[in-house]
Amino acid sequence: MTQPGDEAIQDLENRGGDLKQFTFGILQFPGSNSDQDCIDAVEVMGHKARYVWHKEESLGHLDAVLVPGGFSYGDYLRAGAIARFSPVMKAVSDFAAEGGLVLGICNGFQILCEAGLLPGALIRNRSLQFRSEFVHLSTRNTQTPFTSAIPESHLMRVPIAHGEGCYFADETTLEEIEANHQILWQYTTSEGNQEDHANPNGSVKHIAGVCNKHQNVAALMPHPERACQDIIGSKDGRWIFMSLIDHLNRVVSTE
């Protein structure tokens, strides 16, 4: 079976690199720790990535923004609460408002929720434990820029590493995000069943990731960027980056 992303990388190599290369901006906060992993993931996919420091007021030209994992500003007060007011987040909000693609990972999910760019909030894991392990994710909606390349009914095996990943939203918000198909990923067993023991943090409705109403901002607690090479245990994270790149290619081809 072709592995996720191999085709695109082969394609790029066959053309001697003349396939459109996209530039991903990786935000860097004091305390970010998955920023380098994000750069690696984008480069493995054959595209370009550069850091954007949290004090920057402008993003420059970027095709997509990744808000990486870590413990921005020490997670003081609440995870993501202080990062959300950094100068770069104003630029990210403007970028998102213009339809730009923004993907948050782990602490990035917490920051985007705090910023009000995504619904809900992330609270302390129900077990009170920091959980670092592989999980399985089912994809609920494959019609978005973040999920379109994920094969129907494919379970992604990706790692998590967090202490505050329990997704919470009130009843009204949950009904709304259900109705708008904003729930993108849910925790399952390796057989694809939603069971409490396969929900590592106690998230409502087993939610691992959501998107906004316009489907251009999404985030998840698991780390797809740490699952892009066999040598580190899984390549399933590539499906998400593939989806983003496919979407950007479609946008380019209609321009």
Binding site: L77, R78, A81, I82, F85, C113, E114, G120, A121, I123, R124, N125, R126, S127, L128, C166, F168, A169, D170, E171, G202
Partner: protein, 79 residues
């Protein structure tokens, strides 16, 4: 002048810390405690008086100090 801000999880939000503390208290034999809610306490030292600071502090509570999706807050003023 001080503003004391007490932040607690909303009723509908899971409070696993509160549950863990409640269990510990029960194990230690402190009966008669029905529930425990674990929140945060902030003490802000102010230059201005309550009248000049109240709306600013309320705004800060709403925007930064608490997350209205999951938390409630109340402010106590001390001369």
């Amino acid at each position: 002048m001080k503003a004391k801000i007490i932040i607690t999880p909303k009723k509908a939000v899971l409070d696993p810390q509160g549950k863990a503390v409640l269990n510990a208290l029960e194990h230690m034999g402190y009966d008669g405690i029905e529930d425990v809610h674990v929140g945060r306490f902030l003490e802000l030292e102010l230059c201005g008086d309550k009248a000049s600071m109240e709306s600013k502090i309320e705004e800060a509570c709403h925007r930064l100090l608490s997350n209205p999706v999951i938390e409630d807050y109340r402010v106590e003023w001390e001369e």
